[in-house]
Homo-oligomer: 144 residues x 2
């Protein structure tokens, strides 16, 4: 079995596990996530697939993946929301997204730093934290 076939099989399994139909769009989009080593934004899917899918379909696919805990959003200060694959600990009802995100100012790429834990934050009295997002910007390994 070729590497390509293996990837397709793995993606199919992931979709079935999430109780989703295995379709071309979903397979292709997951493939893009798995091949890319960073976060993707909506416009990337047009670029990377050569607009093979309708914009609406891409929006709906991303939303579905979010709902199922397959991908997560990364906060930004620009218009484009970024998405990245979740690790296996994430599920439909519980995200364990406790890693740091890094955005490189040189190449513009955003990556998940899985090894880097989000530190505990000591909030003022009366505040209850459910989720902590850390986005570091600077220069990445490849660009320095």
């Amino acid at each position: 079995m070729s590497a390509k076939q293996q990837l397709t099989e793995r993606i199919g399994q992931l979709l079935r596990d999430s109780k989703l139909s295995v379709t071309e769009t979903r397979t292709k989009i997951l493939e893009l996530f798995m091949k890319s080593n960073g976060a993707l934004e909506h416009a990337d899917f047009d670029k990377l697939t050569g607009k093979s899918f309708d914009r609406v379909t891409v929006y709906r696919t991303l939303q579905t993946f979010l709902d199922k805990g397959i991908i997560h959003k990364i906060p930004t200060t620009d218009t484009s929301i970024r998405y990245a694959l979740c690790k296996s600990e994430c599920s439909e009802h519980h995200h364990h997204d406790h890693h740091v995100h890094f955005k490189c100012e040189e190449c513009g790429n955003t990556v998940c730093l899985e090894e880097t834990d989000v530190p505990a934050i000591h909030l003022p009295k009366g505040y209850a934290a459910h989720n902590i997002e850390v986005v570091v910007s600077g220069v990445c390994k490849s660009c320095k």
Copy 2:
């Protein structure tokens, strides 16, 4: 001198200090920032001013304030970028925005927790950090 007049005078001074003309739009928008205890998004200005200003003017005003270091952006995972006033340590060329942002899931309000410092993050080898953004979501003081 009334409280209202004092605020207007303070705003005028802030604008002059930043080498900006003192106009109605800018004064009004800064007034909104100073009166609100949280971050504002573009749509808020329409709501709060009853659409007294053209959308374009509001966009340009916010951009100008960003450039001058009067306000800063707060990252989000939704479409709307949020803005909040900078403290006095910020200037045109250097932001000292090292506080934590908190978004309440109940009331939707985002606030700057000035007292809460951003912790040091230990990045993997090869990564250089310029800026660290921390956004905590949960339940705020008023909503718990």
